[in-house]
């Protein structure tokens, strides 16, 4: 009974806290713009009195300078050249080209917009809050004395990186352009790939203080409307102060936050995202980061790379098999080595056992500890390598290799076989980039299980992982589709890559038979040139 009372009091106190938060952010809302220019400027100056980069430029325009206006912008966000050329100049000089008594009311924002401003990206605002939002987003605000509305003009250019090859996803064959931080450029890159009327770009603004633009991009006729509805619902639920990167959004909308495996994929390459959208998925683009989220995700996708589809099937299949094997090596390698040498020595061929024993003669640690140390050292190196300043990079690389490799073995701290095993693990872990984080954790878990319970522990760990993976869903799609709910048509692209002309159906688990399931004609196999009777040669 006391517990019940306790619960009720806690609930009430929490509710009050929430309400408190809401009122604070309500302060600046719900005030409309008054026709009095001075008053508006007072309000705005009051809000920004501590920021020195907000420029308020008052000017007069019109014949006989009878109209007053003010231009407000933030120094480095708005493009001053454009403001001078396309707003101030027409207003101050171009208006003089009109006759004096022309019957255009220049106190109306609409007339100024239609007749004078030579920029296309503009919108009317009538509330102070919207004005401030646009101002902070980089627009220049035009206030006219006597008008209840203001004009927010978006700048054309914005400083951003040039489009270059993405650092994390290099390819041998394929386009080398990658997304950049400016979301509008990203959408433009996508539109270049999919020139379809059905491509929908829905905008949401998330984040109280960061007001980040988030776009949901999908193809209306292919994607499942329930999926899009679910994404919208989850995105709208996010109440946070700032969205700094798509990773924030990923962690708020994913299906299983406690799972090691990612259920939302991300990518930096427009061709990859375009291909996924065409399969019926939806992309979530966040302003300020080149990493675009794509939902839903399946486990198999971590093993597929865009290059597989540009290369020919036999080679692509072999590379895919190699990727699977390298994932297995990278997670199970040290575990199997420890399990075999500590618990199941009868399974190693005799000669190999003698060699391993000879190598381990001087090592003072048990095999489990040795493996942990080596893995830890490798992870250390990797992390340090990412954070290095460039000039020091080479040195650390050499030192790392020497220390971990030669010197440790010479000093008798590590056995040479362990170095080989851990190096193989390390190299293999980079072959499947989407699963490096899950792979790292799994590696340690399996190693611990192997050190404690040998082969039995590893098998139980594998079974638990399999059960966990089989029960994961990503926005309704089973994570291990098409292997686990067995779907033979989907298997064409899993372990090997069948030729493109056989893969004519869309994956069922994403679209749920919502649309036309054939994305290409089923009989596209190229055939050899047949000699016609009419050909002369």
């Amino acid at each position: 009974m006391f517990g019940f009372i306790y619960k009720i009091t806690r609930y009430l106190s929490l509710k009050n806290k929430n309400m408190l938060q809401n009122t604070e952010s309500d302060k600046n809302n719900s005030e409309p713009i008054t026709p009095d220019l001075e008053k508006n400027l007072e309000v705005i100056k009051g809000i920004f009195r501590d920021s020195s980069d907000v420029t308020i430029h008052e000017f007069n325009f019109g014949h006989e300078r009878k109209f007053k206006g003010a231009l407000i912008f933030i120094d480095n966000l708005a493009n001053k050249e454009e403001i001078h050329k396309n707003i101030l100049q027409p207003l101050m000089y171009g208006v003089l080209l009109f006759r004096n008594n022309v019957d255009i009311d220049f106190t109306k924002i609409d007339s100024i917009r239609e007749n004078l401003i030579s920029m296309t990206d503009n919108s009317k605002v009538s509330m102070i809050s919207d004005l401030l939002d646009s101002l902070l987003a980089g627009s220049a605000i035009l206030l006219i004395d006597g008008s209840k509305e203001a004009l927010a003009i978006k700048p054309g250019k914005r400083e951003s990186r040039s489009i270059e090859e993405p650092g994390t996803e290099a390819v041998v064959r394929g386009p080398r352009e990658g997304f950049i931080e400016n979301v509008n450029v990203n959408i433009a890159l996508l539109r270049r790939k999919i020139k379809d009327t059905e491509l929908c770009v829905e905008k949401l603004v998330i984040g109280d203080k960061s007001k980040t633009d988030v776009y949901i991009v999908y193809i209306k006729s292919i994607a499942n409307p329930k999926l899009i509805e679910e994404i919208r619902k989850r995105l709208k639920r996010i109440k946070i102060e700032a969205i700094l990167e798509s990773g924030y959004i990923e962690q708020f909308i994913e299906d299983s936050p406690y799972s090691i495996f990612p259920t939302i994929s991300n990518s930096e390459k427009p061709d990859k995202v375009a291909a996924k959208i065409l399969e019926g998925r939806a992309a979530i683009m966040v302003d300020g980061t080149p990493f675009v989220l794509v939902v839903p995700m399946m486990f198999i996708e971590s093993f597929q790379s865009v290059e597989d589809y540009y290369a020919r099937p036999f080679f692509a299949s072999i590379i895919r098999v190699i990727r699977f094997l390298s994932y297995i090596i990278s997670t199970l390698g040290p575990a199997i080595y420890v399990a075999l040498t500590v618990f199941h020595q009868e399974l190693i061929p005799t000669q190999l056992l003698i060699s391993i024993a000879e190598g381990r003669e001087r090592v003072p640690f048990p095999a489990l500890l040795e493996a942990f140390l080596m893995l830890f050292a490798f992870d250390l190196l990797r992390e340090a390598g990412v954070r290095l300043p460039k000039p020091v990079g080479q040195t650390v690389g050499i030192v790392g290799a020497l220390v971990l490799g030669e010197a440790s073995v010479e000093a008798g701290l590590i056995s040479p076989i362990m170095v080989i095993v851990v190096s193989a693990t390390a190299i293999a872990s980079f072959a499947v980039p989407a699963q490096t984080d899950s792979g790292t954790i799994l590696r340690y878990i399996y190693l611990a299980l192997a050190g404690i319970a040998g082969g039995f522990g590893v098998i139980m760990g594998l079974l638990a992982t399999l059960l966990h993976l089989a029960s994961l869903r990503s926005f309704g799609t089973p994570y291990l589709w098409p292997v686990v709910p067995l779907d033979l048509s989907g298997l064409k692209d899993v372990f090997i890559r069948m030729p493109l002309w056989t893969m004519s159906k869309r994956p069922e688990a994403i679209t749920w038979d919502n649309c036309d399931s054939y994305s290409q004609s089923p009989d596209l196999m190229p055939s050899a040139y047949k000699k016609d009777d009419n050909d002369s040669k």
Binding site: F343, H344, E346, L347, I348, P349, A453, G454, G455, F456, G457, I459, M460, L463, A464, L466, L467, A470, S471, P478, L480, V483, V484, P485, L486
Partner: protein, 368 residues
């Protein structure tokens, strides 16, 4: 209202059946001591005898769609008698589950990891099974085809690798043993691998559309029995008369594989396959037991019961027998006696009674 909200498809039923029966591949060693080189005959005969009984399970499930065994018992035999029969079934499930868990522990203690304490295997194994059960029957059925593939791969690959050591004259002479031994062997085979499939009566309530249930059951049964047959043939051909003296003939047969210098020590391959198959089998048993108990007590979900029942099973498995000798003797002699009515008598009887009484009555407003 049925407790389980998951649904399984008929094709998955096939995989479930086959994977389940393959899990008993170890247990062939029970009959080998009795039937020696005629084990393959005994398996075939057991298959022929069990097939109509098992198909009757499928027909019974088809007749009562969406209802599991406890509910069927309630409907067919009335409340009181039905509950008594369900309690008998629960006893059978829990005993068999503890025997199987103990089997896995003995496998490891005897062959693979001798120094680790016995209870360790029991606890870890049962906890993993409990995890599978908490996830639900849908997850188990989803991975059933993977498990079946692993089992088939192990069986067929070991058969192929041992072909050069096979001596098919070990099967002669046919018909040497006295009929009483053959009969005992058939009894054991139809109880242990095939009879344990009575647990599917609990699971077939979750079928999506039960039109092809009978066909899929039959094929699942065939595939499972085929792999058992392959194992029996392989052991007899490779080991000859010695298969009766080893604790586990399959293991010793695998230890003889010697191809090149690489493929020489493969016994862990079969250890892995057997562990996975037994895990599958024990998870299904645990699931069935937990659902039966919760259905009996009228609970809304079965999740709170999983861990306690699993703990009870571990304790039973750890203490019920003193040694594998005990285990073999009791299952061969007593186990098949108390499970015979449950497997052979009651379901066909239920089917008969249901046909006679015209159940399930459609105008019954009972929620199913």
């Amino acid at each position: 209202m049925s407790i389980e909200k998951g649904k399984i498809s008929c094709q998955q039923l096939l995989f479930l059946f086959a994977g389940f029966i393959e899990g008993s591949a170890l247990l062939i060693d029970f009959t080998v001591g009795i039937t020696e080189h005629q084990t393959w005959m005994v398996i075939l005969a057991g298959l022929i005898i069990s097939t109509p009984v098992i198909l009757s399970y499928a027909v019974l499930a088809k007749k009562f769609p969406g209802m599991n065994l406890v509910q069927i018992n309630d409907m067919v035999y009335g409340r009181f008698l039905g509950k008594i029969i369900s309690i008998y079934y629960i006893f059978f499930f829990s005993m068999t589950l503890s025997f199987n868990i103990r089997d896995v522990g003995e496998l490891y203690i005897t062959f693979l990891m001798q120094d680790t304490p016995f209870i360790f295997f029991l606890i870890v194994f049962t906890v993993t099974c409990a995890y599978a059960v908490i996830k639900g029957i849908e997850v188990l059925t989803r991975i059933s085809h993977l498990i079946l593939v692993i089992g088939l791969f192990a069986v067929i690959s070991t058969f192929i690798l041992l072909i050069d050591q096979m001596d098919f004259s070990n099967f002669l002479p046919f018909f040497e043993l006295p009929f009483i031994k053959i009969f005992q062997g058939i009894h054991i085979v139809s109880m242990i691998p095939f009879g344990e499939t009575v647990v599917f009566l609990m699971i077939m309530g979750c079928l999506n559309k039960s039109e092809h249930a009978v066909k899929n059951t039959f094929f699942g049964l065939l595939i499972g029995a085929a792999s058992l047959l392959i194992v029996a043939v392989r052991n007899t051909a490779v080991l000859g008369k010695t298969q009766t003296i080893w604790t586990s003939a399959s293991f010793q047969a695998i230890r003889l594989i010697n191809i090149g210098t690489v493929l020489t020590r493969m016994d862990f391959l079969i250890g892995i396959a057997l562990t996975i198959l037994m895990f599958f089998k024990c998870s299904i048993f645990l699931y069935v037991m937990v659902v039966a108990v919760s259905q009996l007590f009228g609970l809304k979900t079965y999740e709170p019961l999983v861990l306690p029942l699993a703990a009870i099973e571990v304790i039973i498995a750890a203490t019920v027998f003193q040694s594998p000798v005990d285990h073999a003797m009791i299952t061969q002699n007593a186990g098949i006696i108390y499970s015979a009515p449950l497997v052979f008598v009651i379901p066909p009887l239920s089917l008969l009674i249901a046909k006679i009484r015209g159940l399930p009555k459609l105008e019954r407003g009972k929620e199913t």
